[in-house]
Subunit: 494 residues, 2 copies
């Protein structure tokens, strides 16, 4: 057995541990009774320690060095690159730093749940400060190895190849035109559509609707399922993808659009390449590309008029309290734009403003240009500038609303808006390549769309770098104009 083969066996073992961790993690969010959580947490932590031990043992580095001398085909070479990247990401940090960060992060996250309710910025600041401090240490170590800025080193954990220089341009331009576009859209849009009050949408009906929409979106129920959790997510493994949603009996659209979103993540996972089992090359390309697939289904496809025409009869059929919902009302509700405080509730036009704000703050924070104590003022100032809303003193609905920073996931936020941009660019290419796309969508004939995504994105896994993947799929690397054009056309145009 040569070194490359030995490495693939090691990574297959790791993938099997990841499998168990994904299923036990899913169970924790969906099935586990409350009393099970301590022991489950310990079991998952043990598995993650064992995963780390296997990955960073010195023989991994030796095998990588040996494999680099072996004759490999281009697939193997690409896989070896991913193997090296995963190894380096994991091996770079001293164990004490990893443990200290995990501890500070879980302490901060735990306390945050209550502190947020109490609008307690002082308390939160005390817990967040060590998390930021340890994240800076991590970023500096990684930056030194990669030869980049501290923030870029964290960004690369989620989005390999992306730089803050490029984000500065992408997001800098975006935030030039977005506030005005928002104002135009809000001014143009009809007064809020008839609100259906005092209606009840039973969970069983919503679930049946969700599953019929998943069927329409070609979710493979022999390799996945839909359940309920407090925070919707897409988990499991490619052979068994577990998506979740959260139903509300007062209102059905958030659960439904959430299911369409997670189905986008799920179809990517279900259609990842099968010819390299357990290998890093077979994994999803990046966080932003993953989000591009969920936003492709939710935003580009799911909230389009054409798709809503197909969705409308399904809604009326499954929900007895929505039989009189008109198509016009449905479109108005689904495409309603309204700037607000909360990122996760934001429409697709306001959403990028929330992201640019967070990106600018976390980049400066990690690079040491601002401190934790500066956050509330920066937040308020940017919210006013980008969305016309003040969060002064309103920490709960301001800088304390998100979970991401509590455990030190700096570098994650930009992937949401990168995903939206990739989704727009992919959809635009599809429109050019498939004639009568809208008509096909209205008829529910989605097979050509999925065949295109499968060929160009899903089946590629991590075979190519992001830029090359997008270039091959659309003829150019990331071009933000398609996202702008999408917003203008949907909300101002036709």
């Amino acid at each position: 057995m040569n070194a490359y083969q030995a490495l693939t066996e090691r990574f297959q073992r790791l993938a099997r541990l990841d499998h168990l961790s994904a299923i036990a993690g899913w169970d924790m969010q969906t099935m586990m009774p409350s009393g099970g959580s301590d022991a489950r947490g310990e079991a998952l932590a043990e598995l993650s320690v064992m995963h780390h031990e296997i990955l960073v043992q010195s023989s991994t580095a030796e095998l990588i060095a040996l494999a680099q001398q072996e004759t490999l085909n281009s697939d193997q070479q690409a896989n070896l690159n991913e193997i090296s990247r995963h190894y380096a990401d994991a091996a770079l940090l001293p164990t004490e730093l990893v443990e200290a960060k995990a501890l500070a992060g879980s302490r901060c996250e735990q306390a945050w749940r209550q502190q947020r309710i109490e609008n307690d910025w002082q308390g939160f600041q005390r817990n967040l400060t060590p998390v930021v401090e340890l994240s800076r240490q991590e970023a500096q170590l990684r930056a030194k190895a990669l030869g980049c800025s501290p923030y870029d080193a964290l960004l690369n954990l989620y989005e390999p190849g992306m730089t803050s220089q490029r984000l500065d341009t992408l997001f800098g331009e975006l935030i030039q035109w977005l506030p005005e576009l928002l104002q135009q859209i809000v001014a143009k849009q009809p007064a809020s559509s008839t609100v259906q009050t005092h209606r009840v949408f039973p969970l069983s009906q919503q679930k049946a609707l969700a599953e019929s929409v998943m069927q329409l979106l070609d979710f493979d129920f022999t390799h996945g399922r839909l359940d309920v959790s407090a925070h919707p997510f897409c988990g499991g493994v490619p052979t068994d993808v577990r998506i979740t949603t959260r139903y509300n009996t007062d209102e059905f659209l958030s659960a439904l659009m959430g299911v369409i979103h997670e189905t986008g993540h799920a179809r990517y996972e279900q259609n990842l390449p099968k010819q390299w089992p357990g290998q890093p090359i077979a994994l999803a390309r990046s966080t932003a590309i993953h989000e591009s697939q969920s936003l492709f289904l939710e935003m580009q496809l799911g909230r389009s008029k054409a798709f809503l025409q197909r969705l409308h009869p399904l809604i009326c059929q499954h929900l007895t309290a929505a039989t009189d919902l008109s198509l016009n009302d449905l479109v108005q509700q689904v495409q309603h734009v309204s700037p607000g405080f909360i990122r996760v509730d934001a429409d697709e036009v306001s959403y990028p403003a929330h992201i640019v704000l967070r990106y600018e703050i976390e980049r400066s924070l990690i690079n040491g240009e601002v401190e934790v104590s500066d956050i509330p003022e920066l937040w308020d100032e940017k919210m006013q500038r980008y969305l016309g809303l003040s969060t002064a003193g309103n920490y709960r609905n301001g800088c304390m609303q998100d979970i991401h920073w509590t455990d030190g996931s700096f570098g994650y936020f930009p992937t949401y808006t990168l995903g939206a941009m990739y989704a727009a660019q992919l959809f635009n290419t599809l429109q050019q390549q498939l004639p009568n796309l809208d008509e096909a969508i209205t008829l529910g004939n989605l097979a050509p769309i999925f065949a295109w995504l499968k060929e160009n994105i899903w089946s590629k896994g991590s075979r190519f770098p992001v830029d090359s993947l997008i270039q091959q799929a659309t003829g150019e690397t990331l071009n933000p104009k398609w996202f702008k054009q999408h917003l203008e056309r949907r909300y101002l145009g036709d």
Copy 2:
């Protein structure tokens, strides 16, 4: 850190792997879509290989030897004994034998599912022969190390301390009186009670009934749950016990009694000692003791007239198709005795005959006194002698009905009847210690019963050998007369 502490840390790690394997295994039987099974099987197999590697590494033996020289208190000494036993059980077999047996077993089990339907003894015999051959090799290796007969070596994997010499006496005496008792009972019992045909018991009603009975039996829903699987079982971990049942809309009693049975297993698990987390001493004592707890709840308590009086209103309340079921009919149905071909459908009087038959055959098989080709004739002869039924040519409902031998689980069958005997002995002690027990049961005042079981069995874990555990709880080691007395009193007496 001394050697004993190092061992406890190693076993805690192993317990955490067992946790993940239990949850992923439960998921496989209850939640997993069909397409997930190959990858799940591989992930679970990988975890089991890692478990084995950690357990049998040479340093485990060295640590055990060192710990035996250390000053330990009596709890620690008992734990060290269990640690040594688990280590020896695992380390004794060469890896090739373990793998060959797993392969032959899974091939035999797979094929058996279809061969049983087709009554194909010849085909089954071809696959069972290598399983028996490899089990004999395993038994001989274990026997040499333990200094006992080959069959006893396998028996000890499930029931530490039990011998076939003792079973020969216990089961030999039992099978002297059982056939005649069965005839007396069948002759005495009223003609089969009114069969309720064409009734439908909706799953949702049966589930609500099952959960209310679990509540009555003090199942802790913050540390466990009830789901559905093709083959009912009790799985999960003590902090999160997962029991399952299988509902049938034609008939509700089998699911309900099955839930009571699994609740017995579950309460044992939920109440195992908490002061030795992850240590072998905190595990359930043995397979027969585990079964004694399920049979205590199902047979001793659950099918008693006193308990059925308490159960009756719950049934009428939850099942709209059973509102007219009389208490007399319920008792008659629950206590109906009818010798038949199938072990898993057998009443508690016939059941031991099925077990003695299997015990006698598997003991001779493993000790090399009979061959696989002799099984059908032996089966038919014993079925005629013990239950008055012939299985000649009827392999499907004869020697091909059980899964246990297909993967080489020889030594398991006796634990069912040992469990029934222990249950009767425990219940008899309780009757003597708690005055007015029947009245308390009728009133649903079960707390004293559970307090007694918790103190005498559950909270002991594996702190004492089986004989000592039973001696402490009941004042004597296993005495089969209590089981005989129980059957006579319930089915002939009072």
